[in-house]
């Protein structure tokens, strides 16, 4: 009984930590650019396929080290140029937020069907990042779970460092606080928008590489992941990074417990109910500002 609960908690923590990585990327991009990215989940799947192509299809040397080293610049370039080509031309119009939502929805369908037509509809499995288990008394931990947890927490810390200690991060924060003011002091606003979009693409893509080891690379997973990241962001407070962290862990735990005790099919209903109740009492989310 106790061991079962521990398993559920571990699975909740594991999912929660990766969700945190993805949701914080989304909170960042919404907080800074105010663009609603509905193609976010497709970048998660893109990360999974990128790892699959390198590891399984091409069989490169160096395993996951090479994958992460190659994925970060790849995802950055993809995100940067998609923002430049698709989102930034819309900004001229007054109703651009709605246009951006529609465009990214179309983009997500295009990418998801693109994956199916290139790689086929079957799920792809990624090799484990590390093998083996660690046994402490009656408890058995999978090394893979621990490495995924550590990597996503490391990713979060890297992100926090980047945002608070580098000039790029400060520029991002300045644009988030006041785009006009940031432009006056000479911050290239458009480039910051594109860079933020690119950073969020990296975060969700890495999340895809980490979680696809456990859940397979699935071209149909994109919508679910996208909505999950959005729910966490809204639950924690749009644009609030700390709120997203807590919300990701709460949702991860909720999912694990609901999935274990009531069945997988109730997860989405439970998550939506939690979101509706929270928004009914706190429309700005857990830690959001009015």
């Amino acid at each position: 009984m106790f061991i079962e609960i521990l398993d559920v908690i571990i699975s909740g923590l594991l999912n929660g930590s990766v969700y945190a990585l993805m949701a914080i990327g989304l909170a960042l991009v919404y907080g800074v650019t105010k663009a609603f990215n509905f193609a976010y989940g497709s970048f998660y799947t893109m990360g999974g396929y990128f790892a699959w192509v390198l590891l399984v299809s091409l069989g490169i040397k160096g395993g996951y080290y090479t994958v992460f080293l190659a994925a970060i610049p790849f995802l950055f370039v993809v995100g940067f140029f998609l923002e430049k080509a698709l989102i930034s031309p819309l900004r001229k119009r007054s109703d651009w937020q709605m246009k951006a939502m529609m465009l990214t929805l179309g983009l997500s369908l295009f990418l998801d069907i693109g994956y199916i037509s290139v790689f086929g509809p079957r799920l792809k499995s990624l090799p484990d990042i590390v093998e083996g288990t660690l046994t402490i008394g009656p408890f058995v931990f999978m090394n893979q779970d621990m490495v995924i947890f550590i990597l996503s927490i490391t990713g979060l810390l890297c992100f926090a460092w980047l945002l608070n200690n580098t000039r790029v991060g400060m520029a991002v924060q300045a644009v988030a606080q006041n785009p006009v003011g940031a432009q006056i002091v000479g911050i290239p606003k458009d480039r910051v928008f594109a860079a933020t979009f690119a950073i969020s693409t990296i975060m969700v893509g890495i999340g895809g590489i980490l979680l696809s080891q456990k859940n397979f690379v699935n071209p149909q997973a994109s919508t679910g992941i996208m909505i999950k990241a959005w729910v966490i962001t809204a639950f924690g407070g749009m644009g609030s990074i700390k709120g997203s962290l807590y919300a990701a862990l709460i949702i991860g735990m909720l999912e694990a417990f609901v999935g274990y005790y009531l069945g997988m099919i109730h997860i989405e209903i439970a998550v939506l109910t939690l979101l509706l109740i929270t928004l009914a009492f706190r429309p700005q989310g857990l830690m959001g500002r009015e």
Binding site: L105, L107, W230, E268, A280
Partner: protein
């Protein structure tokens, strides 16, 4: 757009669609396409009314359509209600659910509404497939088969009687389009325009955003549910596949092609999109790839859809240019 040109465009489009069965009545493929154009044009018009005019970023339109379809199917299959009664009951149920969703939603800021309504659509599928859905008679993942056709004036309106069904749909389409035009041209439409331009100023003049938005949410949910119900009695079978991203995107393309908040435009969008969707069907999976790419390209190149394109080449060019320059000026501030 003034009332006269709005009504003219609608009358010409629906009139043209209305005489086509005289020539194409023998071909079941064309009749199916024509019927689907009518159904989708109303559903998309409702979405345009919510999103383009009332300014509510609701992404739950497909969910309301499916709720209408399921409630009518459940009423007529499990409770033996006559289909012509059950489609109106389905509309009412959908309107009630719309209000329940709308009450918390409409107090939220724009993007939150999109999120909650979209999540609502995603949660509907596991609900209908799961034990809760089975308890109310949704048939689980198998769906509902053998939904009875609509029986009226001693005639059956179903997929085997395509021409009568088409005209039944046309009558309902004309009624619902008239309702939409009346809403847009009444003081409601003016209220929406005022709220969209400046919510604070409109509120200070005594325009209650919440009341109008909730009312329009209820009315469009009713119409959408009604047409969902109409559709289910036509095809006779129902499953949760209606909730797929594909249906959602096709509906989205209609609005994108027609132009958001350019009312009769979305009807033209429905004509173009449904026809193209059928023409691309032999391409298999690439059809969706093209549809997705099309959304991206049209949003980028034709922000006001075909309506914007028509207006560009018509006489109102000068006034339009003026308003556009004001718009860009505002967004730069």
């Amino acid at each position: 757009m003034n009332t006269k040109s709005m009504v003219t465009i609608l009358a010409v489009t629906y009139g043209f669609l209305g005489i086509l069965p005289l020539f194409l009545g023998g071909s079941s493929i064309y009749m199916r396409i024509l019927t689907m154009i009518l159904i989708w044009s109303v559903v998309a018009s409702c979405w345009d009314l919510i999103m383009g005019y009332a300014g509510i970023f609701s992404f739950g339109q497909v969910a309301f359509y499916v709720i209408g379809a399921y409630s009518s199917a459940i009423f007529s299959v499990s409770l033996n209600v006559t289909p012509i009664v059950s489609i109106f009951m389905a509309g009412t149920i959908t309107a009630i659910i719309g209000v329940i969703i709308g009450l918390p939603c409409l107090k939220l800021a724009g993007p939150y509404i999109a999120l909650v309504t979209f999540a609502f659509q995603l949660a509907l599928e596991p609900f209908l497939k799961g034990p809760l859905g089975k308890a109310i008679g949704s048939g689980g993942s198998r769906g509902i088969i053998s939904v009875p056709p609509i029986h009226l004036f001693g005639m059956d309106f179903s997929s085997s009687e395509l021409v009568p069904y088409f005209y039944l749909t046309l009558v309902l389409t004309l009624i619902c389009s008239a309702v939409i035009v009346v809403i847009l041209k009444s003081h409601w439409g003016t209220a929406f325009l005022a709220l969209k331009d400046s919510e604070d100023f409109a509120a200070s003049l005594g325009v209650s955003a919440f009341k109008y938005k909730l009312l329009v949410f209820a009315i469009t949910s009713f119409i959408t549910g009604l047409f969902g119900a109409l559709y289910v009695h036509y095809v006779g079978i129902l499953s949760t596949r209606m909730l797929s991203m594909e249906v959602f995107t096709v509906l989205l393309i209609m609005i994108v092609v027609g132009g958001i908040g350019q009312y009769p435009g979305v009807v033209l969008g429905a004509v173009v999109t449904v026809t193209m969707n059928e023409l691309l069907r032999p391409m298999g999976i690439y059809r969706l790839l093209i549809m997705g790419g099309m959304v991206v390209v049209i949003v980028l190149l034709l922000p006001d859809g075909v309506t914007g394109l028509i207006r560009k080449f018509s006489f109102s060019r000068w006034t339009n240019k003026e308003s556009r320059s004001i718009e860009t000026h505002e967004s730069n501030l």
